[in-house]
């Protein structure tokens, strides 16, 4: 793999809408079984190894709670 990525989700602000999950091309993201303070199943990196840092998730996130990082290997 030429690039590796990672995301940081602001768990408390995430509303668990799942739009990022549907738009993740590498199936990195899933909704957690745990809930945040507002009762939402927030998004998290279920498969961190597959993240390419493509930014699709953050691009579609309505609440701007995802920060994306990427490194070239």
């Amino acid at each position: 793999m030429a690039v590796r990525g990672a995301i940081v989700v602001d768990n408390e602000k995430c509303k668990g809408c799942g739009v990022c999950v549907a738009n993740c091309p590498t199936k990195t993201i899933a909704l957690s079984h745990e809930v945040n303070g507002k009762g939402y199943n927030y998004a998290y990196m279920a498969n961190p190894e597959s993240c390419t840092g493509c930014t699709n998730c953050a691009t579609v996130c309505p609440d701007s709670v995802i920060t994306v990082y990427r490194v070239k290997l």
Binding site: A6, M45, G53, P62, S64, V65, V68, Y69, R70
Partner: protein, 253 residues
């Protein structure tokens, strides 16, 4: 490579623009408003015009837009945002002035104001969110509601005989000599979000070129009003809304 070696400031490729405030948006999960707010904020940041931009928020779900974009705002009466923006821009021609309006606000009660602001060719940006429903008041029929669509005031589906037809105001506005850029976009996937952002940026750039009014419709979802989860709502929009409200530039001069 360890995750914590990736998550470093120098590796950051995308994050929240500082033009967005830290306030948690009151919108329902998955609401298109949040994406469009972000795009406007990103355009303002990238153009470096935070201190030169005045936004006009509507009545409807986006009434509190001023809580989320860190710029100066005026909150308008229902439908009147284009009248406010007209005066703001004419009195302050060095400012970037935009209205942010929903379909009830713009296409119903504010039909007169948007028509005349566009016809005068006011050098403003209009962001029009069309989700085919009144969100804030609890999901009633909008002028843009599709035929057959169930809402709180069309419980048996919108019926043309009873309720008239879905209003394609954007096409009407494109007919006016005062508009220079009229486009319809959406924000349900990364490609559409990126296109919508380019459209918004072009609209902001136009407003300093004295070319006339730039009008950007965003076809969006209302998960609560449509009674679907956000992902399903995006699919439903693609399958049903785009046929009546086809995407793309309608006018660009």
């Amino acid at each position: 490579m360890d995750i914590k070696d990736i998550i470093k400031e120098e590796n950051k490729v995308y994050g929240k623009t500082p033009v967005l405030t830290d306030n948690v948006m009151h919108y329902c999960p998955g609401c298109s408003h949040g994406v469009v707010h972000k795009l406007i904020a990103e355009v303002i940041e990238e153009m470096g015009i935070q201190d030169k931009t005045i936004g006009v928020s509507p009545v409807g779900c986006a009434v509190l837009a001023y809580n989320y974009l860190d710029i100066d705002w005026e909150e308008a009466a229902h439908g009147r945002a284009p009248a406010l923006a007209t005066a703001i821009k004419r009195l302050n021609p060095d400012k970037y002035v935009f209205t942010y309006q929903g379909d009830g606000d713009l296409a119903s009660i504010g039909c007169g104001e948007i028509m005349h602001a566009c016809n005068r060719g006011e050098n403003i940006v209009v962001i029009f969110i069309n989700n085919a429903i009144y969100g804030m008041t609890g999901g009633q029929m909008a002028p843009t509601t599709l035929l057959g669509m169930v809402t709180a005031t069309t419980p048996y589906g919108r019926n043309a005989e009873l309720n008239g037809y879905p209003l394609r105001l954007t096409e009407l506005l494109a007919q006016l000599d005062g508009t220079c850029y009229v486009t319809r976009q959406s924000v349900q996937n990364p490609a559409s979000v990126r296109k919508a952002k380019k459209a918004i940026q072009k609209a902001f750039e136009n407003s300093m070129k004295k070319k006339g009014t730039s009008f950007v419709e965003i076809v969006g979802t209302c998960n609560s009003g449509w009674k679907m989860n956000p992902v399903k709502a995006n699919q439903w929009m693609e399958e049903n809304m785009f046929a009546k409200y086809p995407l793309g530039d309608i006018k660009d001069i």
